[in-house]
Subunit: 254 residues, 2 copies
């Protein structure tokens, strides 16, 4: 692993917290100012950091445009989006789409509730993996050994009294989810918010993404939300069909 690149890349999350000046960056990296300067310069030349008027550095536009491109290249997202919008129009609540990557689960699309009360989430943000309904679906589908590995190295924060407490409980929950083919999160992350989720599968039957509908108690009860399950599953199945049906991208050759 390359030390120089390692250091340079470590600057980016640091700057994501907010603008920082040269000294601060050097300190946080544990390197000499001149070293930090040269790293920042290189990042700057590539547009990854931007130097604002007061000479402090912040993340640059290139990063944002790259992220945008990265999302566009996710073909599940592209296919799923219109379905998510339609579902949102029917039920009114917030709809999420998430994928698993390297031990994390992230939201890659979101259609906001039309009710004024919204839940906090962010595209690109890692979800609360031990409790989120979409995370359960994605992890439940992993091969035994991978699942075990991921589950073991997780923390199990008790967001609420109903959060998943430990690895054992989580594995049981995953088994159940895999069995029934859908998942819920009933107040496991935020006391007053419930979700129902369904998996999206590729041609080989493996789960490639998961989608969920979330709503706070003040709008609908958990039981009412559960009545939407068939609709959510049908939507997920429709996306699965389209995703596995034809070639997603215009792959080169023959």
């Amino acid at each position: 692993m390359s030390q120089t690149v390692d250091r340079a890349l470590s600057i980016l999350p640091l700057l994501a917290e907010g603008p920082a000046d040269l000294g601060r960056v050097a300190d946080r990296l544990g390197v000499h100012k001149s070293t930090a300067l040269r790293l920042l310069r290189t990042l700057h030349d590539h547009g990854f950091v931007y130097r604002q008027a007061d000479q402090r550095y912040r993340l640059g536009a290139r990063l944002i445009s790259l992220a945008q491109e990265a999302m566009e290249n996710l073909d599940v997202r592209e296919i799923a989006h219109p379905h998510l919008v339609r579902l949102n129009e029917q039920v009114g609540h917030t709809v999420h789409l998430a994928v698993h990557e390297e031990g994390e689960v992230l939201y890659i699309d979101k259609v906001e509730s039309r009710y004024p009360v919204r839940m906090y989430s962010r595209i690109g943000k890692p979800v609360a993996i031990t409790v989120a309904a979409v995370a359960k679906l994605l992890l439940a589908d992993l091969p035994e050994n991978e699942r075990r590995a991921v589950v073991d190295q997780l923390d199990y924060p008790m967001y609420t009294a109903r959060s998943t407490p430990n690895a054992d409980g989580f594995l049981k929950e995953l088994a159940k989810v895999r069995e029934q083919g859908w998942a819920t999160d009933l107040g496991g992350h935020e006391e007053s918010i419930n979700c129902v989720a369904a998996p999206i599968r590729g041609a080989d039957g493996r789960v490639v993404a998961a989608m969920s509908v979330s709503a706070p108690n003040v709008v609908v009860t958990a039981d009412e939300l559960l009545t939407l399950l068939p609709l959510v599953r049908r939507t997920a199945d429709a996306i699965s069909g389209e995703y596995s049906g034809r070639t997603p991208v215009k792959e080169v050759t023959t």
Copy 2:
């Protein structure tokens, strides 16, 4: 400038074009495969690239979450402030900066007029949403359904004879504002006070804030105030440029 980092960063735009395998990356960089491998590994460890099932590399999720976090932590006020001060020095009148949040529009910065006659406003205070020029800009940019939702649940107090009377009239005004890219409030809130406002846009083109210049009739007429419009718009554009991270200096890079 650091060669290693330079090469590593060059990989990212390359991968943005689509997934690539090791050989392709090495070729495009003009380096040995082993070198490319080590760079990719480092990028991988930081989550910037993701290795998909067929061993090819893709842009990773970390990129997306970083960009999102960066945008969230971007402080419009901080960036805008010097511009507002400069504008105030040029025109002398009160300058406001406002954002939209949860159905309300709030002033988040203000530079006082240097004329003795000042208008009443307060940072953090919700603005008169149905008449204020900045509010029109912020609401005009919302997606159709959200805009409708906000507009419908508003009251339409008749501060003056020229206040927006009802939802229909407001929607028409918003359409006009969106069309022309700027807004005014001519005596709609207080009989003797006029404003001109312009939008500040983020990297994705969406309106993130709005700024305005306000002055009472006793100092300048509405017509005179309107002559400042180009200057206000230029200032807003300058802030937009800086906010979205486009480098204003001599940089050329790709």
